[in-house]
């Protein structure tokens, strides 16, 4: 693990020291955590921000006229500014807090889908979507009579533009909902090109940024995204907090998703009116402590800086692709030109489950299964894969450890 702890301009030793969990031993071995794409570990700054609110500042937000509530409201609403800046949104009113990326997409499917799409309109997703960006559209289809179309991907794991064009040919598509980075193949999709394509065809675009936002600077205005979603917990923040970005005019036109406190204008038994966005979409007591934790996570990442993070993860990914491809009987899935720190593979000799269990006993955490992307498994001709994914704290040495571990698994199975 001492190998190449230091990549250029990136003080990995000090970054690792920021994550208390990395000092854990698993079955007496050093923890090699290669499952950040499922959920990332939390730096001390995030843990402390959450602890601080609870110890010194906590109260419910928005409606309290006293000191603690005002301070907590300021901190909560301050994170909205932070997220707006993080995504380079045009205004803070375009940032809606949700539980996770899944809820963000469901919110859009429900509010935009039922109110602004009409039966007969079509929605396009790609073959490499996470269930979170597929199932809500199926539910909308079944409830509301829209059509759901699937754009193919190439064998390399990139958008198949011919197939996409065919999906749009009849002019009925009103929404393209597509991942910005695949959680299985690591492929980045060309977000601004896809947005321009959708817009030329009179459709809106939703980008699932759950993976993408972790590895690179995202600029929703430069992309010209209509909707952009992500989860806090993959971005080194707490669970229970997610983000929906949507353009202001779209949010203004959308009815609420859930009803309750904080999202209303006025309420009478006969009839209620809605608050303006973003509050219209945040019913009830929000995830106050978690939102503040997300703010700390964004500060942490911004302090390292995306140029350094992207460069580091590029080195890791290149190294992983090279070293894993040298293992006989290992099949790497996907070969996109543009990819982030996620690598999926299968072994001829051993099933993904067996790989994960045997690596675990060496202290190495990888994910095995369908990765909430069952239809993609079918497309790839596999029933499951093993997946290693990288974060700011991942070292080249850990990737070497993975390769050594995989060879040991092969030995057992040969």
């Amino acid at each position: 693990m001492s190998l190449a702890l230091q990549t250029d301009g990136f003080d990995i030793a000090s970054i690792r020291a920021d994550f208390p969990i990395l000092a854990q031993k698993i079955y007496g071995k050093d923890l090699v955590f290669l499952d950040s794409a499922a959920s990332a570990q939390k730096p001390r700054a995030v843990i402390e921000a959450m602890t601080h609110v609870m110890q010194a500042q906590y109260a419910n937000v928005h409606r309290g006229l006293y000191f603690l509530s005002e301070r907590t409201s300021d901190a909560y609403e301050g994170v909205r500014d932070k997220v707006a800046a993080f995504l380079h949104a045009a205004s803070r009113e375009e940032i809606v807090f949700t539980r996770n990326a899944t809820e963000s997409i469901n919110l859009v499917a429900h509010s935009f889908g039922r109110a602004l799409l009409r039966p007969g309109d079509a929605i396009v997703v790609s073959e490499m979507e996470h269930h979170a960006n597929l199932v809500p559209w199926q539910m909308l289809r079944d409830a509301h009579g829209v059509e759901l179309r699937v754009a193919k991907i190439t064998d390399a794991g990139e958008i198949d533009w011919d197939s996409l064009a065919a999906c749009f040919a009849d002019g009925r598509v009103k929404l393209l909902a597509v991942t910005h980075m695949s959680n299985v193949l690591g492929s980045y999709t060309p977000a601004s090109r896809l947005a321009a394509f959708a817009h030329q065809h009179g459709a809106r675009i939703l980008l699932d940024g759950s993976q993408a936002v972790v590895h690179r600077r995202v600029d929703v205005q430069a992309i010209d995204a209509d909707f952009y979603v992500f989860s806090g917990h993959k971005l080194y923040g707490p669970t229970g907090i997610g983000v929906l970005y949507a353009k202001r005019d779209i949010l203004e036109a959308m009815p609420p998703f859930m009803g309750g406190g904080d999202m209303i204008g006025s309420v009478s038994f006969a009839r209620s009116t809605w608050a303006k966005p973003p509050h219209r979409f945040e019913a009830g007591t929000p995830a106050i402590i978690e939102t503040i934790g997300l703010g700390a996570a964004i500060d942490y990442i911004e302090a390292i800086g995306f140029p350094a993070i992207s460069a580091h993860e590029q080195i890791l990914t290149d190294h992983a692709l090279k070293i894993l491809s040298e293992i006989d009987g290992l099949r790497l899935l996907g070969a996109a030109q543009d990819r982030g720190g996620v690598v999926s593979f299968t072994l001829d000799q051993a099933h993904a489950h067996d790989i994960a269990t045997l690596l675990d006993r060496q202290g190495i955490a990888v994910r095995a299964g369908m990765h909430c992307a069952e239809p993609l498994m079918g497309r790839l001709g596999v029933t499951s894969t093993a997946r290693a994914s990288f974060g700011v704290y991942t070292t080249l040495g850990e990737i070497d450890a993975l390769a050594v571990g995989l060879r040991r698994v092969q030995q057992m199975f040969s």
């Binding site: 079955y27 051993a350 099933h351 993904a352 489950h353 067996d354 269990t357 045997l358 006993r361 060496q362 095995a368 299964g369 369908m370 069952e374 498994m377 029933t383 499951s384 040991r408 057992m412 199975f413």
Partner: protein, 139 residues
Amino acid sequence: MSDSAELYQALIMARSRQPRFAGPLATFDSQGTGDNPMCGDRVQVYLRRADTGVGHVSRGCAIMSASADLMAEAVAGKSAAEIAVLSTAFEAMVTSGAQDPALGDLNALAGVSGYRSRIRCATLPWSALADALADDGEG
């Protein structure tokens, strides 16, 4: 890796690599399926009632396919009531890790108790068999 040896012991490796009861039976009365949607594992079980002959088609990990094969061997010739008893004992054994003399070779799977998320792999074939037993051949 040495402690993994307990789980992936010789009998399991052998039975997953060279199963004795793999493949659909030439003639069978009913069929059952076990699916684990979380990981994509699937096992199909074919049952011939006359002599309780079982064949399985397993698509999944070593634990699951070895378990299917050992199950086919263990239930051969047994009555439905006997199988129910065996199945309950098997589930208790893989959950607790305590070997049970009544289970014979099936005890090879006792090690799975230390791997919480893998217990389901070992029990999946048994669900498929229950499914086949419940199938009255008309479905």
